[in-house]
């Protein structure tokens, strides 16, 4: 299943912030975690993560620092700030509201008989 670009873009902030709330990380590792968490459903183009990280940095939600990794290469690590945690909590409330709304309507729909079956009169709840 492929998830459309708008949804991927909209969910990128809470996902990255939540991953960084687990622990400090860097680009490659964040992408690996996204793949792992989504079971491969959320396929980000690798490079596109970096402008997202830079935006979060500009907004003060994450802080970046350069460190020398085990490989001997310099690597840019990101960590969430208190402001980022507050933003994550706000995003989480919004996404839970959206998700609860959808769960509600999915449940209502599942009580109705499948549409378009010939010879079966639609039966409403309590009829």
């Amino acid at each position: 299943m492929e998830i459309n670009k708008d949804l991927i873009a909209a969910s990128s902030t809470p996902i990255v912030l939540a991953i960084l709330a687990e622990e400090d990380s860097y680009g490659y590792q964040i992408l690996r975690r996204v793949r792992e968490l989504s079971g491969g459903c959320l396929e980000w183009t690798d490079g596109m993560l970096y402008p997202v990280l830079h935006r979060l940095e500009r907004l003060g939600y994450v802080e970046a620092r350069w460190e020398v990794a085990e490989s001997g290469r310099r690597r840019k690590y990101y960590g969430i700030t208190p402001q980022g945690r507050a933003q994550l909590a706000a995003e989480r409330r919004q996404w839970e509201a959206v998700s609860a709304t959808l769960r509600g309507i999915w449940r209502e729909l599942s009580l109705l008989p499948p549409a378009g079956v010939p010879g079966v009169a639609p039966r409403l709840q309590g009829a």
Binding site: Y26, G27, Y28, T45, D46, G47, M48, Y50, P51, H54, R55, R58, A69, S71, R73, R74, R75, K76
Partner: protein
Amino acid sequence: MTDADQAASLEEQIEQWRSYLRRRQAIHSVDVAELEDHLREQVAVLVGAGLDTDEAFLVAVKRMGNLDVLSREFAREHSERLWKQLVLVPSDSEGLRATSRTNAIVAVGLAVAAAVAIKLPALFGIPLDSHAGFSSAI
């Protein structure tokens, strides 16, 4: 290819990729370093999974995404770099559009010039077909 050859070839490919990225005004050298670290880790993981370094490099570059699109995203985020992107480095497609527009203008110009050239003798009262030499030579 020996391991040393493969490593040298990879370094060469990364150097080319890096210099290609550096031409993008919207992507600063510090961002290039960050992307390069990503590319190298991806290559290492793929080589660990059994790919040749050449193959691993190609896959890693492809996963990084289209550089025009990426460069635009960087420009959007770092809007203070945007004007450079617009002024100095039109993306390839913009360059092509500009070229075809120029070509169209040249074509129209030539058509007008040709029409004028045909009509010019008539303007001076000289009908074209009165020049026997001109038509009989064809």
